[in-house]
């Protein structure tokens, strides 16, 4: 893990609903002890359903949020408690792209000014130089110079997302956190963006933390995947291994839930239930309430991450106690249940 540029170590985040009359409410435990690293020229996928804490984790990674406990380090420096003034010099290297292309651009700014904002903050350049750099970035994301002086409302969602991407890339960051960056755009735009991310990884050695609920997108762009459920990482591993031989019952459920002809062909495999509330997560394994292979032990004891054949780790008692899943045909119980 020493070669990682961005490292999160045992990060916990809890939100306490603030306010005069409800200070007593139980905190929302969004992230519960997650460790993750992104290396140079590496793309790490973070998948999970809404409410699993993946977006919170992304915000912690770029220090939009401070973790309740745990450390976040960037280029070997702990940043989780760094004051903004000392954080600022590190910012150019650590950028983020957000999900909503409609609210991520200032409606009163031209696209050119939005894209050039990082330059105005971090580099002393003339207006003409900034414009040239902005033009260069727009070309990179597939837009044209004439778009520089337009306002966001003149653009489609896909084009806005390209602009937001250009803004994140203009300082040539080392790591970019993409929070559902392609979830609100058409497949065509999504694939174009994914191809660009790959290219940047190869050519410039950029690292990506690609947060998404879209398994297909993650599969295209990530080399390693971490699967989150209810604030915890339940499985990590090389993308190929995780998709071909999921070791955690939840990962398996996610993969078999993806719509398509193959799911239709398999027939009668409807996943059960919905994630419980992160306000009061169950003791033991977070997935116990929906797991078709739940055991007595899962209700009391949180399984520890255990290595999996083919790479990565899984936090599941099946891995140590039962017929573990990875690389083997699925046990009958799981087939019937999922």
């Amino acid at each position: 893990m020493s070669r990682d540029i961005l490292t999160l170590d045992d990060v916990h985040v809890a939100f306490s609903p603030q306010g005069l009359f409800r200070r007593r409410t139980a905190p929302v435990r969004a992230v519960r002890g997650v460790s993750l690293g992104v290396g140079e020229a590496e793309s790490v996928g973070l998948v999970g359903e809404s409410g699993c804490g993946k977006s919170t984790l992304g915000r912690v990674a770029v220090r939009l949020l401070s973790p309740t406990s745990g450390t976040v380090s960037f280029q070997g420096q702990a940043i989780q408690a760094l004051p903004e003034r000392r954080m600022r010099p590190l910012r150019p290297g650590l950028q983020m792209v957000f999900q909503d292309p409609y609210s991520s651009l200032d409606p009163s700014m031209t696209v050119g000014d939005s894209v050039a904002e990082p330059l105005r903050v971090h580099e002393r350049l003339s207006g003409a130089e900034r414009r040239a750099r902005g033009r260069e970035m727009l070309h990179l994301v597939g837009l044209e110079e004439r778009h520089l002086d337009r306002y966001p409302h003149e653009f489609s969602g896909g084009q806005r997302q390209r602009v937001a991407l250009a803004r994140a890339l203009i300082l040539n960051p080392q790591v970019v956190v993409c929070d559902e960056a392609t979830s609100a755009v058409d497949v065509s735009t999504q694939n174009q963006i994914l191809a660009l991310l790959r290219e940047l990884r190869h050519d410039r050695g950029m690292g990506f933390l690609f947060i998404s609920h879209n398994l297909a997108a993650v599969r295209h762009v990530a080399q390693r995947v971490a699967v989150m459920y209810l604030g915890k990482v339940v499985e990590t591993g090389p993308t190929a291994r995780v998709f071909a031989a999921p070791a955690h019952p939840y990962t398996h459920m996610l993969l078999t839930s993806a719509p398509g002809a193959s799911r239709r062909g398999a027939g009668g495999a409807t996943p059960v239930g919905e994630p419980p509330s992160p306000v009061n997560p169950p003791a033991g394994c977070p997935f116990q309430t929906r797991c078709p292979m739940v055991m007595e032990r899962c209700r009391v004891e949180m399984p520890a991450p255990t290595p999996v054949d083919g790479g990565g780790e899984v936090a599941c008692h099946l891995q140590t106690d039962g017929p573990h899943l990875a690389g083997r045909p699925l046990p009958e119980t799981l087939r019937a249940g999922v």
């Binding site: 939009l64 910012r91 909503d100 609210s103 991520s104 000014d113 904002e117 903050v121 003339s126 994140a168």
Partner: protein, 299 residues
């Protein structure tokens, strides 16, 4: 010009490049509101009269003619004469400036103090809550009563009266600004700015102020209308402008005792007050509509 020039607190670019606001879109939309255009024209006219007023009066507005008091409108005195024989038309023209200056003064105080206060209140969590409780307290007073209280301390006079009205406006501007800023602060582009590392001062200048201009401009127009009425009311009560100067409200007040014998005296000042207030509100509506955000282009 009552308000047409007051808005635009938007910062200009440090490198002085062309305005960042989409002025043309705004102008196009605004011009399509016929009522707002007419109202703007009327306010423009009032503004011109305020500036060149003393030069165009047909009579000396202060010259008394005790031989011709309370005259009905005629060819020499277009709107008649008042109780000491002064030409009402001339007095009305001269009073325009007083009324408008009074409005500008109070709105400038209200916005000038209220907007920064609201900004601070929105950005500083702890002090913000405290500031808002104080403004809530001020807002609990009826505005005119509060103004009368301030005059009780400062003494009567137009400037004092309008300072008092300005004080009444402060919490309203502060509250609106705070709400608008908090609304804008929730947008993702503010988060994006934080990730970029843009210092707070610049976030305010680049992103927050330009995006709260809309509601504040509308509030300025609405407040102008209210200030016009408040000036009229206070002067009517004798707490505002002092003789021999006059304002529309003072003219109206002076006409009151003669409502049975010379009813026409109050008509002209009353019509101008009403028309100007109406015009500022119509313009405010027009601005509000024209600044409206683009709707999302969803599937």
């Amino acid at each position: 010009m009552a308000m047409a020039q007051t808005p635009e607190t938007a910062p200009t670019h440090e490198d002085g490049r062309a305005s960042r606001r989409d002025r043309w879109r705004f102008a196009r939309r605004f011009l399509s509101h016929r009522g707002a255009v007419v109202a703007t024209g009327f306010l423009g006219l009032v503004g011109v009269v305020a500036v060149i007023g003393p030069a165009i009066t047909p009579h000396d507005p202060l010259a008394q003619d005790l031989g011709a008091v309370l005259q009905p409108p005629s060819a020499t005195h277009l709107l008649g004469t008042d109780d000491v024989g002064r030409d009402l038309f001339s007095r009305l023209i001269v009073a325009t400036r007083t009324s408008l200056v009074a409005v500008l003064l109070s709105v400038a105080i209200g916005a000038g103090i209220g907007v920064p206060l609201g900004l601070i209140a929105a950005l500083a969590q702890r002090t913000g809550g405290l500031l808002m409780r104080v403004t809530d307290g001020i807002m609990a007073f009826p505005p005119i009563l509060l103004a009368i209280g301030v005059i009780g301390v400062l003494g009567p006079g137009l400037t004092q009266a309008m300072v008092a009205v300005g004080v009444v406006f402060v919490p309203r501007f502060a509250r609106l600004t705070r709400t608008s800023v908090r609304h804008v602060a929730r947008e993702t582009y503010i988060e994006a700015s934080r990730v970029i590392g843009t210092p707070l001062r610049r976030v305010v200048m680049w992103h927050i102020l330009p995006n709260i201009t809309g509601p504040i401009v509308v509030q300025i127009a609405v407040a102008s209308g209210f200030a016009m009425l408040a000036e009229a009311g206070l002067s009517f009560l004798g707490l505002g402008v002092q003789p021999p100067d006059s304002s529309w409200g003072a003219l109206l007040g002076r006409a009151l005792p003669y409502i049975n014998t010379a009813w026409w005296l109050g008509i002209a000042p009353g019509v101008f007050i009403t028309a100007t207030v109406l015009a500022t509100n119509v313009v405010a509506d027009g601005i509000g509509d024209s600044l409206g955000r683009e709707t999302r282009r969803d599937a």
